[in-house]
C-alpha cells in the first residue's frame, strides 16, 4: 500500500530541491535562452524551469548523453591501460519529465538492456535514477501522445508524479523508490479539494489530448510499402539535417569514435542519425542508403515497423518535437495518415 498523495507548495520548491541535492544528483529542465531548454544536471535549484512544455532535447539525454566518454585510455609502452567511465556514484533524481518522454525511456530500456548485451552506460544511470513525472495540464496542439498509447497524465514509468495545481504541486508516490522521498518535511498532506482539483485537471487535459489518429495496423501496412513510390514523395522536402532524430525521445542511434592526442585519449559515443549520409556510408564508398529516400524510409520504418517487430510497440510517443522543429515543416502525423489511408 503506497502512501496517499502529498503536496509541495511552489514557494517551497527550491528548498525542497536543495534538500534533495544533499543526497542525490539532481537533473531537470533548464532554460538556456528564451524558448530553449534542455535537461541538465542542476547545480543550483534556481535553474530549474518547470514552466515550459517539453525541453528541446528530450529526457533520453539524462541516460544517454549526446556525447559521452565510454572509457579513457593511456598508452604505457606497448600496452594500453583502459579505464571505463560507466560507474555512477550517487543516486539521481530527474524531475519535470513529461509522460511522453518517460514512455520513450521505457522503450529505450528495452533497447539498451537487450537479451544478450546490457549497455552499462545507460543501465547504470537508469538504475540509480528516481523519475519524477510531471503531468501536462495543457497539452500542445502538436502533442499526439494519446494516439501512441500515452496521455498527458499517464504515470507509467514514473516513481513520483507531480501535478501542477497552480500554487502547489500534488505529489503522488508510485513506487518504492518514489516513496523514499515521502519523509521530506516540506511535503504536506494533500487535502481532498486538492486531489479533486488534480482530477479535474486530468479530466480536462485528457479531453484536450484526444487520439485523432489511429495507427492500428501500421506495421502490416508498412510491410507492403517497402518499395512503394510513396517514399519518393515523403522524402522530397527533407533537407537531410538531424533535428527530428536528435530531438526524438526514442531515437537512440550512436556513433563511437576515438578522441586522442599523443598516447592518451578517450573513446566517445555521440548521437548519430539515420538521416546523415555518413551514417551508413561504408569505407569502400558504397552506401546502402544513398539518398534521402532510403534514409527517410529508414527513419519511419524503424519507428513503425522494425521496432514493433523487435519490441512489440511503435517507437514514437507523440511528443511532437519533430513537427515543431523540422526546418522543412515535415509533419509525421500527416505522413502516418497517408500511410494508413492510401
Amino acid at each position: 500500500m503506497r502512501r496517499g498523495p502529498a503536496k509541495l507548495e511552489k514557494k517551497n520548491l527550491k528548498a525542497f530541491l536543495q534538500t534533495l541535492m544533499e543526497r542525490y544528483d539532481l537533473f531537470g529542465p533548464v532554460r538556456l535562452a528564451e524558448g530553449v531548454s534542455v535537461y541538465k544536471r542542476i547545480d543550483d535549484p534556481q535553474e530549474v524551469d518547470l514552466s515550459s512544455a517539453n525541453p528541446q532535447k528530450p529526457l533520453k539525454e539524462v541516460f544517454f548523453a549526446q556525447s559521452e566518454v565510454m572509457f579513457r585510455y593511456e598508452k604505457a609502452g606497448r600496452k594500453t591501460e583502459v579505464r571505463s567511465t560507466e560507474e555512477v556514484e550517487r543516486e539521481r533524481i530527474v524531475l519535470g519529465a513529461r509522460p511522453c518522454d518517460i514512455a520513450a525511456v521505457l522503450l529505450l530500456d528495452q533497447v539498451f538492456s537487450g537479451k544478450d548485451y546490457t549497455d552499462v552506460y545507460y543501465a547504470k544511470k537508469r538504475e540509480k535514477t528516481t523519475l519524477i513525472g510531471l503531468a501536462c495540464n495543457r497539452p500542445l496542439s502538436t502533442c499526439f501522445c494519446a494516439s501512441m498509447g500515452g496521455g498527458p497524465f499517464v504515470r507509467r514509468g514514473s516513481d513520483l508524479f507531480w501535478i501542477d495545481l497552480g500554487e502547489a504541486y500534488l505529489v503522488e508516490f508510485l513506487t518504492e523508490k518514489g516513496e523514499a522521498l515521502s519523509q521530506n518535511t516540506l511535503l504536506e498532506k494533500a487535502d481532498a479539494s486538492e486531489i479533486d482539483l488534480a482530477k479535474a485537471l486530468e479530466q480536462r487535459a485528457s479531453e484536450k489530448a484526444t487520439s485523432s489518429l489511429s495507427i492500428e495496423g501500421i506495421e502490416k501496412r508498412l510491410d507492403e510499402m517497402v518499395e512503394s513510390p510513396f517514399w519518393d514523395r515523403v522524402q522530397e522536402k527533407c533537407i537531410g539535417c538531424r533535428v527530428c532524430t536528435y530531438l526524438c525521445p526514442t531515437c537512440h542511434c550512436f556513433d563511437i569514435v576515438d578522441e586522442a592526442s599523443r598516447g592518451q585519449g578517450q573513446r566517445v559515443r555521440n548521437w548519430d542519425s539515420c538521416l546523415s549520409p555518413l551514417y551508413s556510408l561504408e569505407t569502400s564508398g558504397h552506401n546502402p542508403r544513398p539518398t534521402t529516400r532510403e534514409r527517410t524510409r529508414q527513419r519511419l520504418m524503424h519507428k513503425f515497423n522494425y521496432f514493433p517487430k523487435n519490441f512489440g510497440s511503435v517507437a514514437c510517443v507523440g511528443c511532437g518535437r519533430c513537427i515543431i522543429y523540422c526546418p522543412a515543416h515535415f509533419d509525421i502525423r500527416k505522413t502516418l495518415e497517408e500511410i494508413l489511408v492510401p
Binding site: 571505463s84 546490457t118 552499462v120 537508469r126 563511437i256
Partner: protein
C-alpha cells in the same frame, strides 16, 4: 525491468570495453600490399579460456586513438592460441592496423555475430565460393571442417576461390597445401593471369558454371564483392541450389557490434547481431537495403 538489473549480485559486463591482444605476427598477404594478416594472442589467459567462437563470427579491433572496426575471424576455432584477421587497408582504423608492429597491444571485442550454421551443414556437402579479400571467414570455415575431428561431420567440400590477379590471392601457401589434399576439391581462378600463373583464368561465375558442382544435399556459402555475387547467384540458381541452402556473410558499416547503435540494420534485423551470416531465404524477406 531495469530496476532489477544487477540485483542478482552479478556485475554487469561492459560490452564496449575491449580486451587487450598482443600482435604475435603480422605479414602482408598480397602484391598490392593492401591486405595484411595479423595474428593476435591473448594478453590475459582468463580471456583466452572464455573466448569461444564459431567460423563466420567477427570481432571489433581497436587501435586506441584511431578507433574501432569489425573484421571477420580468419582463423578457425580448431587453431588454438591465437586469432587471425586479414585487414584490407581502406580507412583510418585499417591503416593503423597496417602500421601496428609485432609485440604491440591492440584491443578486441568479440566474438560477435551469429557465424555459419555449422549444425545445418553437418552430414551435407559444402560448396564454398569466395572472391577477393572476402575469403577470411571462409578460410575459418574450411579449416574448421578440414580438422581431423570435424572432417567426418561433413561430405564433399568444394572450394571455388577467385581473385582479380594471382598476387591478390590470400593465404597462398595454404591454398597450395589444400591443392594436394584429397578430401577437398579446390578450384582457384584469377580474372587475369600473369607470367607465372599456371592455374585457371576466368571469372568466378563462369568457372562455377564450368565445374558445375551438384546441388544434391549441398549447402553453398558465398562471400565476395557485390558484383561477383550478383553474377554468381543466377548460376547457383541454374544449378538448382534452393535459396534456403545458400548462405552469405554481409558487410555493413558497424559500430557497436551488439545491435544497439543502429546503422547496420536490414529491415528489423541487425547485421552485427542477427548476422552477419544470412541465408538467401532470409534475405529475400528483407528490404533490399544493402
Amino acid at each position: 525491468m531495469f530496476h532489477d538489473l544487477g540485483d542478482e549480485g552479478l556485475p554487469m559486463k561492459n560490452p564496449y570495453q575491449p580486451i587487450p591482444m598482443v600482435v604475435r605476427k603480422a605479414w602482408i598477404e598480397t602484391s598490392d600490399r593492401m591486405l595484411r594478416t595479423l595474428e593476435l594472442g591473448f594478453a590475459d589467459k582468463e580471456e583466452e579460456r572464455s573466448f569461444q567462437f564459431i567460423p563466420g563470427q567477427f570481432c571489433e579491433l581497436s587501435v586506441f586513438g584511431k578507433g574501432e572496426a569489425p573484421f571477420g575471424i580468419a582463423s578457425a576455432p580448431t587453431e588454438q592460441g591465437a586469432l587471425r584477421f586479414t585487414i584490407n587497408k581502406a580507412g583510418v582504423v585499417t591503416t593503423a592496423l597496417h602500421q601496428v608492429e609485432e609485440g604491440d597491444e591492440i584491443g578486441l571485442r568479440g566474438p560477435l555475430g551469429n557465424g555459419y550454421p555449422l549444425e545445418a551443414f553437418e552430414g551435407k556437402n559444402l560448396l564454398v565460393i569466395g572472391g577477393g579479400f572476402a575469403f577470411t571467414t571462409l578460410r575459418s570455415l574450411i579449416v574448421y571442417f578440414l580438422h581431423p575431428q570435424n572432417r567426418s561431420k561433413i561430405g564433399d567440400i568444394t572450394v571455388l576461390y577467385g581473385a582479380r590477379m594471382p598476387g591478390l590471392l590470400l593465404y597462398k601457401e595454404e591454398l597450395a597445401q589444400w591443392e594436394r589434399r584429397e578430401d577437398l576439391k579446390l578450384v582457384v581462378t584469377v580474372d587475369q593471369g600473369d607470367g607465372n600463373w599456371k592455374g585457371k583464368v576466368g571469372l568466378v561465375p563462369n568457372v562455377l558454371e564450368e565445374i558445375a558442382p551438384s546441388s544434391n544435399d549441398t549447402y553453398a556459402v558465398i562471400c565476395g564483392p557485390p558484383i561477383m555475387i550478383k553474377f554468381t547467384f543466377p548460376k547457383l540458381m541454374a544449378l538448382r541450389f534452393p535459396i534456403e541452402r545458400i548462405y552469405t556473410s554481409l558487410e555493413r558499416r558497424m559500430k557497436c557490434g551488439i545491435g544497439k547503435c543502429g546503422r547496420c540494420n536490414i529491415g528489423h534485423l541487425y547485421v552485427c547481431k542477427d548476422g552477419p551470416v544470412f541465408s538467401y531465404a532470409q534475405l529475400e524477406k528483407l528490404p533490399r537495403d544493402y
